[in-house]
C-alpha cells in the first residue's frame, strides 16, 4: 500500500473514530474529553514538505470541525503541531539514518524514549492551544489548567493503547543501514 493511500484511509478513519466513537462517550467531567484524532498528524511521513504538512493539518482540522459544529476550533491546534513537528523530530532523532530508513514516526523508528517525548510534547501543545481558545471565549483559569492536564493525560493513554493495538511495521524505505 502506498503512503498516499494509507494516509488518505487514516484521514477518514481518524475523523470517523473521533466523531462517532470518542465524541459520543458520555462526559465524565467537564475537564475530561478524549481526543485521539490528531494522532493522524503525528503519523504523517518524514519526507513530507513542511508547507504540505501544515496544509494537510489545516484541512484535517477543518474537516473535523465541520463534523463537531465549531469551524476553526480544532484547525488552529492542528496547524500548530504540524508546524512544530519537524523541529521536534530534528532534535529527537539522528537525521541521516532514521529519516532515510523509516517512513514515519513510530516506536520502531524512533525508540520508546524519543517517541514518547515527541508524543507528549505535541499532545500537550495541541491541548493547550485548544483549551486556550476555549478559555478566551469563556471559563476561568482553573478550567484552563484542569482541562489541559486531564485531557492531555487521557489523550496520552489513548495514544499508548492505540500503539499497543496497532503496532505499525516500521518499514525500511531504502536499504540504508539503521
Amino acid at each position: 500500500m502506498s503512503a498516499l493511500l494509507r494516509n488518505i484511509i487514516r484521514f477518514v478513519l481518524f475523523i470517523l473514530v473521533q466523531v462517532y466513537i470518542f465524541n459520543k462517550v458520555p462526559p465524565v467531567h467537564q475537564f475530561v474529553k478524549p481526543y485521539i484524532y490528531f494522532l493522524f498528524i503525528l503519523w504523517l511521513p518524514f519526507n513530507m514538505g513542511r508547507a504540505a504538512q501544515m496544509l494537510v493539518a489545516f484541512i484535517f482540522g477543518l474537516t473535523f470541525d465541520y463534523f463537531s459544529g465549531t469551524p476553526g476550533l480544532h484547525a488552529a491546534p492542528c496547524v500548530l503541531i504540524a508546524y512544530l513537528r519537524p523541529f521536534l523530530l530534528n532534535l529527537l532523532i539522528p537525521q541521516e539514518t532514521t529519516q532515510l530508513s523509516f517512513a514515519e514516526p513510530s516506536v520502531k523508528s524512533m525508540g520508546w524514549g524519543s517517541y514518547a517525548t515527541y508524543v507528549l510534547i505535541l499532545t500537550f501543545m495541541h491541548t493547550a492551544l485548544l483549551v486556550f481558545i476555549e478559555w478566551m471565549e469563556f471559563g476561568d483559569f482553573l478550567y484552563f489548567i484542569g482541562k489541559v492536564t486531564a485531557t492531555t493525560l487521557l489523550s496520552l493513554i489513548l495514544i499508548f493503547i492505540t500503539e499497543m493495538i496497532f503496532p505499525r511495521q516500521g518499514k525500511y524505505r531504502t536499504n540504508a543501514p539503521i
Binding site: 463534523f67 476553526g72 508546524y83
Partner: protein
C-alpha cells in the same frame, strides 16, 4: 526587493503557519458571531449525510427510549382531547367541530414540523444538534426546537436539507424561562459542567422555590411556545447576600437519547421582532 523575496522565502514556513493559524481563528470568530462558516452549505450537507448513515445504526439501540418518550407525549396530548372530558350535563352531547376554520376567530400562532435528529453532541462546551430538515422544508434560523419531553434548542444555521441547532447545552444558549408556580421569569443557560443540568438565574428571593418545582418556557421568548417544559429544580444555590436565586435545573429533555424533535414556527415572530427593534434607545 531581492532581499525581501529572500526573506520571505527563508521564513516561508513560518509565514504559512501564521496565515493558516490566522485563517482558523478568523473562521472561528466569524462563526461564533454569525454562525456563517465558509462552505457552510456544502459542509453541512456532507456531514449531515454521513451523520444520517451513522444514525441509522445508533437509532436502533435507542428505539426503546424513543418509543417510551413518544408514547408518553401521545398520552399527554390525548389527555387534552375533548373526548376525555365529560360535560356536567349528560344529556348534552359534545359535537366535534368539523369546520376547518376556527369560528371563534382564533388564529394559529405556532406550527410544528417533526424532524429526525441525525447528530447530537453532549461532550463539548458548545454542543450542536443536526436535524434532517432544512430550508427546502421551510426551516429558518431562530426557530425553536422542542423534543417530546421538553425544550431542546434553537436553529442557528440552515442548509438545503439539514439544520444546525444550538442545543441547550451550549455556552452561548439562553432561554427565557419561568417557574410554573408564581410565574417568576428568569434566564436559563448552561455552565458547561454537567450535561444533565442547566442553571436558572434572576429568580428573586421573594419567590417560594422548592426542589422539584417545574420550570417552563416563558411567554417572552419568541422562539418557543409558552409553557413548554424546561426542567425541574434540582438544587437551590446562590449567594445568601444576593437578592436572587441560582437554581440548578435538571433538564426535561434527555440529551443522551434524543432522536426526534419538533421545529416550532412562530408565525408572529417577525412582527414581534420588528416591533421590538423599534424600541427607543436610551441616550
Amino acid at each position: 526587493m531581492r532581499n525581501i523575496i529572500a526573506f520571505i522565502r527563508q521564513f516561508f514556513n513560518f509565514f504559512l503557519f501564521l496565515v493558516l493559524l490566522g485563517a482558523s481563528l478568523i473562521i472561528l470568530i466569524n462563526y461564533n458571531q454569525t454562525y456563517q462558516a465558509v462552505f457552510s452549505n456544502i459542509a453541512s450537507e456532507t456531514t449531515g449525510k454521513v451523520g444520517s448513515q451513522y444514525n441509522k445504526v445508533e437509532y436502533y439501540f435507542k428505539l426503546k427510549k424513543t418509543n417510551e418518550a413518544l408514547a408518553a407525549e401521545n398520552a399527554q396530548l390525548r389527555d387534552l382531547l375533548k373526548q376525555s372530558f365529560d360535560s356536567p350535563d349528560t344529556s348534552n352531547v359534545i359535537k366535534i367541530d368539523s369546520l376547518l376554520k376556527d369560528t371563534l376567530g382564533r388564529v394559529r400562532r405556532f406550527s410544528f414540523l417533526p424532524a429526525k435528529v441525525v447528530n447530537n453532541d453532549v461532550s463539548d462546551q458548545n454542543n450542536y444538534i443536526t436535524l434532517y430538515r432544512g430550508s427546502k422544508q421551510g426551516v429558518r434560523t431562530d426557530m425553536g426546537v422542542i423534543g417530546p419531553e421538553g425544550v431542546v434548542g434553537k436553529v442557528v444555521s440552515v442548509s438545503d436539507n439539514y439544520s444546525l441547532v444550538m442545543s441547550l447545552l451550549n455556552r452561548n444558549s439562553k432561554v427565557s424561562a419561568m417557574m410554573k408556580k408564581g410565574f417568576y421569569t428568569g434566564l436559563a443557560d448552561w455552565d458547561g459542567k454537567d450535561p444533565r443540568y442547566i442553571e436558572l438565574h434572576n429568580i428573586p428571593k421573594s419567590a417560594k422555590i422548592a426542589v422539584g418545582d417545574t420550570v417552563l418556557t416563558s411567554s417572552y421568548s419568541g422562539s418557543y411556545p409558552p409553557g413548554i417544559m424546561v426542567g425541574r429544580v434540582a438544587a437551590i444555590e446562590g449567594d445568601p447576600a444576593s437578592g436572587f436565586y441560582e437554581l440548578k435545573i435538571k433538564t426535561a429533555t434527555d440529551f443522551f437519547s434524543l432522536q426526534y424533535a419538533y421545529l416550532v414556527d412562530n408565525m408572529t415572530m417577525v412582527e414581534q421582532k420588528q416591533l421590538e427593534a423599534k424600541k427607543p434607545k436610551e441616550q
